[in-house]
Symmetry: C2
Subunit: 170 residues, 2 copies
């Protein structure tokens, strides 16, 4: 299963593409889309849309996994993150690619075994799972890869359970 | 000055087009875009984008005025409102139309004289200012018209002040 993980943001939007099945994951691509924090809000969204769409066209993920954002102490950050999330939803849907959401706790638990792992632990485990020589930087890129791994593992397990359930006589 | 006011939302997105200058305002169009609250989040955004773009193409506003959303007790509402706001920003920017934001307090003050007016007072004043026989319904439609009036009045006054300031010798 090929998953594009998106750590949504306007200043930095982490993107990571992973081919994975439970217990296995291979990195296909990683990157960060940056838009200037002082830039026109609309122009930032247009730029992000173009970049995201280019990633979808180039890597053809089966699913897009986006971090589910909750309230934050910084309302501006919540808003720009929500705007970036909307762009991810829009571009993927237009290409017929399903979008799933995972909470930070789910992602941390999937890659480190603990929902309370810190950023450095997540980055270290992502580096190890993907067999990378160097840790992905910045943290947004590592988070995007962690999201993709989380969904590739959870999504595959859920699909298997659904298939098994379908075979049980009722 | 022709302004499209947008009261952003996914379940109901109010739209109102007004031709106005300080003290005067004529309604050009009003409507509400609705998407099913249980629908796929991505499909809802795609639908809203199409509708908004159709309004921009049809009415050719000079400016789009969007309500600035603040924190709410309901985080889900804040998020879907922020998603709708992102779609408004994106579609207008792609057409080269500037987007401005006004707070609910600014809008209420502009049309009623008081930043603490309630919804029914805003609707009543919008109906009177635009010389309508019937009050616009639902409230989202009236709010969108109020936003457009607010910006037509404030924007024109600000442009006049800027023009005057430019004539002052330095």
């Amino acid at each position: 299963m090929r998953v594009l993980g998106v750590d949504p943001g306007l200043t930095r939007c982490g993107l990571g593409v992973v081919d994975g099945r439970p217990g296995r994951a291979v990195m296909v691509a990683v990157g960060v889309v940056r838009t200037p924090s002082g830039g026109d809000p609309g122009e930032r969204l247009v730029f992000l849309e173009r970049e995201l769409d280019a990633w979808l066209a180039r890597f053809e993920p089966e699913v897009v996994a986006v971090e589910r954002v909750f309230a934050d102490t910084n309302i501006t950050t919540v808003m720009t993150t929500a705007h970036a999330t909307a762009i991810a939803l829009l571009t993927a849907t237009k290409r017929g690619i399903p979008v799933v959401f995972h909470t930070p706790t789910e992602v941390k638990a999937a890659v480190t075994g603990s929902g309370r792992a810190d950023k450095s632990q997540v980055t270290a485990m992502v580096t190890r799972i993907l067999g990378l020589d160097v840790a992905p930087r910045p943290a947004d890129a590592a988070d995007a890869l962690a999201l993709a791994i989380c969904h590739a593992w959870r999504g595959a397990a859920e699909a298997r359970l659904a298939a098994l359930a379908a075979r049980v006589p009722r």
